[in-house]
Symmetry: C2
């Protein structure tokens, strides 16, 4: 019995357009082995569109992708379009309108991918669970006395009990399937309204999940510990901003910032979830055919998981590990000379 999934593809900007074809090729190949077919719809929402039409996506853009099973995104952002225009016109609305309140970032030291940190050995693995739709990323606030000597800007972070509770429950439940330990990122010694509230809700989540141990660390001490002793972590949960910072830091510690994946999940499945490589549009190498497609491919593997095909997803990750561990084929960012196409071909052969 064949399963068909409808996938919305948003290549976006720069190398985003170069890494999605490898990802769909991998999906098709692994899908064929598992009786899964994919129907792709392409959406050319990007900074160039913004420059021509004044908007990153059409007014009814979200309606066009609302009924897809998942979204695969390449990268958003390009010089000349301010980040807060491109991101808040495309990426952030998708996260919010589709209530993708979990940003899941698995971290893994891959064989053959050197880590900048001495103690990060192949096999090291943990996951950052980031709140993805509220908190510090907020349109509430503004500018006062613009242009005058006493000008100021006010930014409101808004943390809600339901919003924090559900991300914490997600993290604790995930921990229960892993090593049973959650680290909460806080800064309640400096951020005196939202962070003590976050800490209280963490303690409540701990009571709801008595089998999971948890502890909290102030974000400044935590970033230090991620560098000093990454193997002590399993599930780290943080607010929108802290999760953003920790997931890039953790990917760097694993040496894998260029290949790290992210899932923007709507766990209720009322709306599609979105999968995207962590790397950006990389204007410096865009158009040269040398981008590393592993971030997009790994993201596609996360999508397979989410769509109910964990075996297929695991096969993709195994093929990645195989190529990196057992062949010298790699793109320039990992010290090789392979083009995106050559690398993808090598990987496809191993699925």
């Amino acid at each position: 019995m064949a399963t068909e999934h409808r996938i919305a593809l948003i290549p976006g900007d720069g190398i985003g357009t170069e890494v999605l074809p490898p990802a769909t090729a991998v999906l098709d190949k692994v899908g064929a082995r598992h009786g899964i077919t994919f129907r792709y719809d392409d959406f050319d929402w990007c900074c160039e569109r913004y420059l021509h039409e004044g908007a990153m996506m059409p007014a009814n853009g979200l309606d066009q992708i609302r009924h897809h099973d998942a979204i695969l995104l390449g990268a958003v952002g390009w010089p000349g379009v301010p980040d807060h225009v491109s991101l808040w016109g495309l990426l952030i609305p998708i996260r919010r309108q589709f209530d993708q309140y979990v940003n899941l970032r698995p971290i893994k030291v891959m064989p053959g991918v050197p880590s900048p940190v001495r103690s990060a050995e192949p096999g090291l693995e943990f996951v950052v669970v980031r709140e993805n739709v509220e908190g510090e990323y907020s349109e509430v606030g503004g500018r006062f006395h613009r242009g005058f000597a006493d000008e100021m800007a006010v930014q409101e972070s808004i943390f809600t009990r339901p919003g924090v509770t559900r991300i914490l429950d997600y993290a604790f439940e995930l921990a229960a399937t892993r090593r049973n330990v959650v680290t909460s990122a806080t800064k309640s010694n400096g951020i005196v309204h939202t962070m003590p509230f976050w800490d209280e809700l963490v303690a409540e989540a701990g009571l709801r999940h008595p089998d999971v141990r948890w502890h909290q660390e102030h974000i400044d001490a935590l970033v230090a510990k991620v560098v000093l002793d990454p193997s002590r972590f399993d599930v780290i949960v943080g607010s929108n901003l802290f999760g953003d910072i920790l997931s890039d830091l953790a990917a760097a510690v694993a040496g894998s910032i260029g290949i790290a994946p992210a899932g923007n999940l709507n766990p209720s499945r009322e709306f599609p979830s979105m999968f995207e490589p962590v790397h950006g549009s990389a204007p410096d190498i865009a158009g040269k055919g040398v981008a590393n497609p592993l971030g997009a491919i790994w993201s596609a593997a996360m999508m397979l998981d989410h769509l109910g095909h964990p075996d297929a997803g695991a096969e993709v990750v195994a093929a990645m590990v195989d190529v990196l561990g057992n062949t010298p084929v790699r793109t320039a960012d990992l010290g090789g000379t392979a083009s995106t196409e050559e690398f993808t071909k090598t990987l496809l052969d191993r699925i």
Copy 2:
């Protein structure tokens, strides 16, 4: 001609009380060689005081130290007293009321102090300039519908043109005495009111300092780069929260989180500046006489600089480098067996 300085000592909690005597011993020894004498006044403001008297310091505490030439602080915080009570009852009011708007954190890989990061070699050196009195650390905001299902917490970050401008000018002027390059930490793609404002003021500061090159990095990418390639940085400037995160991260990258110093500076010198080791009160080792006094001693060296004695300050740092590089004597945190007292004695002998 002898110079006399009046120093307010606030040992605070835990190992804070163990690391200040070594610092004053060093100050006295190096002072004697340079015709500088110190008069110390001790203030027992700490968590124990809070537990007995309901306040970290007396109501007129700030008036008691307002006319000192500088403040040397040990550490604040102890289990049983919430951090937001101990810090906001002592450390933060001193920073704010004495308008110590610069938090200066020099980072240096010391000989014999191993870094967790492969590429961080002895000699690596940069500095984090952190805004220290406004921004994300704010008492504005609060809790709504406390205890109910729809409870929320709101936290306002407030960035002012004068507040941001003066920290940027400090950073650019510092860069002009060093390698002429400033890195600004931002997150204007996610934090849409305050961070684009910060970026605008950075661009204006760049125009005021045409000889200094500058660039900006989003905080998520920046923490990754600090780990991947720390030697590319010289002066990093950030908001209160971003500077806090970056300075601990950078100290970890340098392997020196336990010995890093901080200066809380009031550059106008209308009020005393405060110097403090970055490490905390360390309840796990407090009372055992094994704390590493180098953070406090290095902070005292920064204080000498600030008081107009850069040669004396440099001698203290040279003695630190000498002991770490040329003797096996070190405290347990650096893999040695020396007590605080033994280590201090070795250091004093080398001044």
